[in-house]
């Protein structure tokens, strides 16, 4: 049975029910933070209506929608907090960092002296696993390959942070800028060389497909790998 055709009406109906219910609730709401939370439910309805298409097009529409939704929530919550501050007329001296609620205030003190260098597995295993992940991601190519690769990079950086060897904050600053620049070059390869090549030289499409896929993998991998050195 073809689920996509058979269930299209039901999915769209469920999406509209949820959307209308939450929009009515937004209409009756006064508090800002409650409005923001109910907007999250409206986004669920939007995703279900798009997913009812059931094709690759739906998937391609959902991915940017999710990222845009995240950015929108971040921006709107920041605006709400700033407005609240302005109303209180409180001028704080220091500007708060992003996500400082989740950072460790003081390092927990361990009485027992654990000798990390003795544990060989902390050095060899992390390198081995991350190497396997990066190579496997390179073979997959595309968005999925980039995600797998970035998991490898992230794992390596986090494990180096645990062992506390090798990476200082100066290194991280250089590393960050280098990886960001590399990611930008890969973006240019993906869009300019890859996609424009499709249209200009359709007879060499295999070459440009490989360029675009490989560049996308490297771009996503390096970009997401940057998350790994946030807290080291």
């Amino acid at each position: 049975m073809d689920v996509v055709q058979h269930m299209f009406n039901y999915s769209v109906f469920a999406g509209f029910v949820v959307g209308i219910l939450s929009l009515i609730a937004i209409g009756y709401q006064r508090s800002d933070i409650h409005l923001l939370i109910l907007t999250d439910v409206v986004e669920c309805a939007m995703l279900v209506i798009i997913a009812a298409l059931g094709t690759d097009l739906a998937e391609a529409l959902i991915l940017p929608g999710l990222v845009v939704g995240l950015a929108e929530f971040l921006a709107v919550s920041e605006i709400l907090i700033q407005r609240c501050k302005l109303r209180k007329k409180e001028r704080e001296k220091k500007t708060p960092k992003l996500f400082e609620e989740f950072l460790v205030v003081e390092e927990p003190k361990v009485e027992v002296d654990i000798e990390h260098p003795r544990m060989e597995i902390l050095y060899s295993a992390s390198r081995f696993i991350s190497l396997i992940l990066v190579i496997y991601g390179a073979f997959l190519t595309g968005f999925t390959g980039g995600a797998v690769m970035s998991v490898g990079l992230l794992f390596y950086l986090l494990s180096q942070g645990i062992v506390s060897r090798g990476i200082s904050s100066e290194d991280i600053k250089d590393f960050w800028e280098a990886v960001a620049g590399f990611s930008g070059i890969m973006w240019a390869l993906w869009i300019i060389l890859g996609f424009i090549g499709f249209y200009l030289f359709p007879e060499h499409y295999v070459t440009f497909l490989l360029i675009a896929g490989g560049a996308l993998a490297l771009k996503v991998g390096s970009k997401l790998g940057l998350i790994g050195d946030l807290k080291l």
Partner: protein
């Protein structure tokens, strides 16, 4: 019944009744409780993605959801601090 269709129906059920829970449910005056209730329609959306075989969308949705939790809880904490 086919397991795909039953997954889809379970997704609809969680989505619609989870939304009712967010809107009318108990203790909705507390923003944190209301935000925790939002997780139920979220699970419904995930089941619907699963039934439609949207692998990448499902993976990205799970990742984005954990980030959204951070953003919302930060906003709620800040709001409480400033209003207290």
């Amino acid at each position: 019944m086919d397991i795909v269709v039953s997954t889809l129906y379970l997704g609809y059920f969680l989505l619609i009744f989870g939304t009712l829970g967010v809107i009318l449910g108990p203790e909705t005056r507390d923003p944190l409780v209301r935000f925790l209730n939002v997780e139920i329609p979220t699970i419904g959306v995930m089941l619907i993605f699963l039934a439609y075989n949207h692998t990448l969308a499902l993976m990205t949705y799970i990742a984005i959801n954990s980030l959204i939790v951070l953003v919302f809880i930060r906003a709620i904490i800040r709001k409480e601090e400033l209003e207290a």
